[in-house]
């Protein structure tokens, strides 16, 4: 069962890669990249939900990944893949320290600290001279040979990471995380180090967020502190909420739908804030389990009817 999902997932990612390779460059390919990055960000947010915490520092980790990749590219002139990985690792290292300190708290405290952390990291970017200050960094280009294949590359990386996150979720480690969400005292009582498990979970999510940030730096070529405020976490939350957080496909469904709809809505002159705000409020009030939850319920009802 587990293997079959992985194989079919890999097949779907391969198909998507072929489809993006056939696309001609333009607004469409950019949109594909943005959707893929949004999916990965939302998946990172969802991964921390396995331990039952809402990680609003996701935006900070995306930003660290973007700045890490940006510095490695423009200042240190490292090879492309190493830069991307470096961005992810920066996010992991900061996530390790941040998680070690803050994961002693839980629930509202962790949520609010993540929120404050995002704002402070953003402030630090504006203060640091060699990070470009308020205006940010420019000229983060992917290598020449990837120019035409960037959307394919982005989709492939995101796809592989999603499958990896899924595999981790279904592994022993993932099950420990879910057990912590349900009752951390029980997990502690069988001798598992709850605190370090939580920190590890956060680090995995931080890596995914960091890679998402690095990819976004290469896709947009420009990064600035304003891109990585808490609004980014809020948007990721909107994708997750509309898609449904119980299903690993939730972030995918939500991000695809909302980014597409938002690009249509913006074309008609509506404000981005109002659109995402509406999407969150309506989906929370009308379909608490998101789109994937609705589909699942519809499916189960049909099966019940055919059985009766």
């Amino acid at each position: 069962m587990d293997k079959r999902v992985l194989y079919s997932g890999a097949g779907a990612v391969a198909l998507l890669c072929v489809a993006t390779a056939a696309m001609t460059a333009g607004y469409g390919t950019n949109l594909v990249c943005w959707i893929a990055i949004a999916v990965l960000t939302a998946a990172s947010l969802r991964f921390v939900m396995l331990i039952g915490e809402l990680n609003f520092a996701t935006a900070a980790f995306v930003g660290l990944g973007a700045y890490g990749a940006g510095v490695a590219t423009t200042v240190m002139d490292w090879p492309f893949l190493l830069c991307l990985l470096f961005g992810g690792m920066v996010a992991v290292v900061v996530g390790l320290v941040f998680g070690y300190v803050t994961l002693r708290t839980k629930g509202p405290y962790f949520l609010l600290i993540g929120f404050a952390f995002t704002e402070v990291v953003r402030l630090i970017y504006t203060k640091v001279h060699w990070l470009g200050g308020n205006s940010g960094m420019v000229g983060i280009f992917p290598p020449r040979y990837l120019d035409a294949w960037l959307p394919t590359f982005v989709v492939a990386v995101v796809g592989v990471l999603l499958l990896a996150l899924y595999a981790i979720e279904k592994s022993h480690f993932g099950k420990t995380c879910i057990a912590i969400r349900d009752n951390d005292a029980v997990v502690q009582s069988v001798g598992i180090n709850v605190h370090m498990t939580k920190v590890a979970c956060l680090c995995v999510a931080a890596f995914a967020a960091g890679i998402a940030g690095g990819l976004s730096a290469y896709v947009n070529n420009v990064i600035s502190p304003g891109d990585f405020g808490f609004l980014l976490s809020t948007f990721a939350l909107a994708y997750l909420k509309v898609g449904g957080e119980d299903n690993p496909l939730g972030p995918v469904a939500g991000a695809v739908l909302l980014v597409l709809l938002a690009s249509v809505a913006m074309g008609m002159g509506a404000g981005e804030h109002v659109f995402y705000g509406m999407a969150i409020v309506l989906s929370v009030l009308l379909m608490p389990k998101g789109i994937t939850g609705l589909i699942q319920r519809g499916w189960e009802m049909r099966r019940k009817r055919s059985a009766a």
Partner: protein, 291 residues
Amino acid sequence: MQTLLQLILTGLQIGSVYMLFSLGLTLIFGVMKIVNFAHGQFFTLSAMLVAVLVPWLLMQGLPLSAAFGLAVLGGIAASVVLGMLLYQFAFRFFQRDLAGSFILSVGLVLLFEGAFLHYFGGAVRSVPPIIDGTVSIFGTAVTLQRLILCLVAFGFTFALYWVLTRTRLGKAMRAVAIDHEAAMLQGIPYKRIAFHAFAMATFLGAVAGAIMAPISTVTPTVGADYLVKGFIAVIIGGLGSVPGAIVGSLFIAFIESFGGYYVDPSSANMAIFVLVMLILLLRPKGLMGNG
């Protein structure tokens, strides 16, 4: 000495607004166990209405004090009505649901921020000074207006304290905050208490906005800055704790006023964050939180 006194007074002035703001947050959390990000929107709406209505009422030929009084009443009333509507049609369904209520409130923040930008424009507004003159406290000059608004804020804080400790409603709120099921067994109508607490919290947020408008500038996104500070104050003090919110707010305000003078404002903001991390490391539930 002169500078020290000046900085202390500035700290108290900023702190008084933070205090009213974070008291609303902590009250809602205590009674309903929800994290309400939309609290900043009540603050913004009331501040914005004051900033818009005062010049408009002056144009209608009203004297300054009447114009200000009417604008403040209008701003607070509009915020409280908005708060009641949001409770009735949204937050009511998410009591004691931390993630759900938080997500809902974040959606509302985006929605209202977009709406405020649309209706009020992005311009920075300010309110003309209402009360002229300065007073001298131990040789330090303070504008009378700031002093009076600061005193009003402290007055409301004491009023809340009195309500919570001396009245039936306040005692019921505290009982609900400690254990809502036990409170219901004692015959305390939880839903009505929650509604009162939410309305009271929006009222406090709206008063904070109306007080802030004349002493600072008003933009449609001003609530977000206060929201970050307000939540940090509440985390430092402990979620749900009223004295904690007061201590946390003053703590932040003093760091801001001293740090802003001796170093620079954004370093002061970072220092606040580092201190919060340290406090959480030592006391994961805040200085005065217990549950």
